[in-house]
């Protein structure tokens, strides 16, 4: 993937910025790389499992559930010439996210509820890609609504689905197959897989609108 390299078995992103959450910095010749630990980030786990998503570097991305910006900081390294709209509803992690947004010119921080996309419909443009990592029961509905509002026709999405937050008692495999069926109503699913052993009871789903 663009600007990503596996260094000593761990992904890292090429970056001209310093450490955001205490991650290590590697120097390779004249290039700086920020270590991207798969246990901390689901996207890193996905990459380490061998799945990649094509990025040109100038994409417009809507990131739902940015939290304190761990994964976001690496995604911002990858699409260094694009724009990322980062939505997060919790005030506390947002403080940390703001630190990142002040530093990175390609991040637009939005303190909004991703379940109410109409509230930021006059701010976010039509995007090429939606990345979602929200541990909420209605996570599929959130993706659907945001896609209707913002995703270009033919645009792609990547969602990290957590079985337990959809149904805490059911078997996760059953939950996942229901989720995939539900998603395939509105999207074309390109690929999906678990994030074992880095994140338990999670799958990622990559698809097209």
């Amino acid at each position: 993937m663009r600007n990503v390299r596996i260094i000593n078995g761990t992904p890292a992103t090429k970056s001209r910025y310093g450490s955001h959450y205490g991650e290590r910095i590697f120097l390779l010749g004249s290039e700086r790389y920020r270590e991207w630990i798969p246990w901390r980030s689901k996207l890193s786990a996905m990459i380490l499992k061998g799945y990649e998503i094509e990025m040109k570097g100038e994409e417009k991305i809507l990131y739902l559930g940015a939290a304190s910006g761990t994964t976001l900081s690496h995604l911002a390294d990858i699409v260094d010439e694009g724009i990322i709209y980062a939505v997060e509803y919790s005030a506390k992690p947002f403080l940390k996210l703001l630190e990142l947004a002040r530093e990175r010119e390609n991040i637009i921080p939005l303190l909004f509820d991703a379940g109410k996309p109409w509230l930021y419909s006059g701010i976010v443009e039509k995007v090429d890609f939606i990345y979602q990592d929200i541990a909420q029961k209605n996570q599929i509905e959130i993706l659907r609504m945001n896609s209707e509002f913002f995703l270009k026709k033919g645009g792609e999405f990547l969602i990290m689905v957590k079985a337990k937050s959809i149904d805490s008692t059911a078997d996760s495999r059953g939950v996942f197959s229901r989720v995939l069926k539900d998603l395939s109503k509105d999207f074309r699913i390109l690929h999906h897989d678990t994030l074992e052993p880095y994140h338990r009871d999670h799958i990622f789903v990559h698809g097209k609108f």
């Binding site: 005030a91 947002f94 991040i107 701010i123």
Partner: protein, 256 residues
């Protein structure tokens, strides 16, 4: 059609807002826009579009973050208190309903309607507690459940106080009366048993176990709640691993 954008409004023509921070929060539209905001914005604001947007977004967020931290906690505390009173009211009305029914059925319909209305209110409050708790204490909500988590915050006074409380205190919170009764009996040299659980007895992992094992589960649950509250207070992000350890312990106790 009129569209509300962060830098102004569009109907027949474009009206640029005088205060971007204000219009940023009014940029709500019922349905998806038939055009891309940035396309229009780049035409109106030129090359600086993204720079101005980013600056506005950061400024608005800074103000809102500052205002939000704190106020949600007070809200959840007020909600918990309201919930308790509403529950009590429901029980009382139901009791009276039964009393009256024994004599005459004439008013039954009115009672039923009032009770249904109150129950709707209760579930509304519960839903709101759920939503706010997800936001201010995701880990506590995951471990203890929104209602128990909110009750603990209310009991201790704030998330901060809960985060700094020892797990043993969390374990018996809500059972102070029987704790001090037991302690004073012990002091006098009599036999007494200290309570195993207070508020956290409401948790399904504690309640569903046989009596003998509840103490073990309550102790374990309290330690995990304590960790969850600390993560929520200091970091505020969901920690995925916490719940699985709790579940594992529950399964162990259930089988043993």
């Amino acid at each position: 059609m009129r569209y509300n954008l962060w830098f102004g409004t569009v109907d027949d023509g474009i009206r640029i807002s005088e205060d971007f921070k204000k219009s940023f929060l009014l940029a709500s539209n019922e349905s998806p826009l038939p055009f891309s905001v940035s396309e229009l914005g780049l035409r109106v604001l030129g090359r600086d579009y993204y720079r101005i947007l980013r600056k506005t977004a950061i400024e608005v967020a800074e103000e809102r973050v500052r205002k939000e931290l704190g106020s949600d906690e007070m809200y959840v505390i007020a909600l918990v208190k309201a919930l308790e009173e509403v529950e009590e009211a429901i029980n009382m009305v139901r009791e009276k309903d039964e009393d009256i029914r024994l004599v005459k059925e004439d008013l039954a319909e009115h009672f039923e309607r009032a009770l249904a209305e109150m129950e709707r209110l209760r579930s509304q409050i519960e839903k709101e507690i759920d939503a706010v708790m997800q936001k201010i204490a995701p880990n506590l909500t995951e471990i203890a459940g929104a209602k128990i988590g909110a009750k603990l915050i209310e009991k201790f006074g704030s998330l901060k106080k809960l985060a700094f409380a020892p797990a043993s205190k969390i374990q018996i919170a809500g059972a102070e009366k029987s704790l001090y009764k037991a302690l004073s009996r012990m002091k006098r040299g009599k036999e007494a048993r200290v309570p195993k659980h207070g508020i956290i007895f409401l948790h399904s992992f504690v309640r569903s176990l046989p009596k003998k094992k509840r103490g073990k589960m309550a102790r374990f649950l309290a330690t995990k709640i304590s960790i969850a509250a600390k993560i929520d207070y200091f970091r505020g992000e969901l920690e995925e691993e916490l719940f699985s350890s709790l579940k594992k312990r529950y399964e162990e106790l259930r089988r043993a």
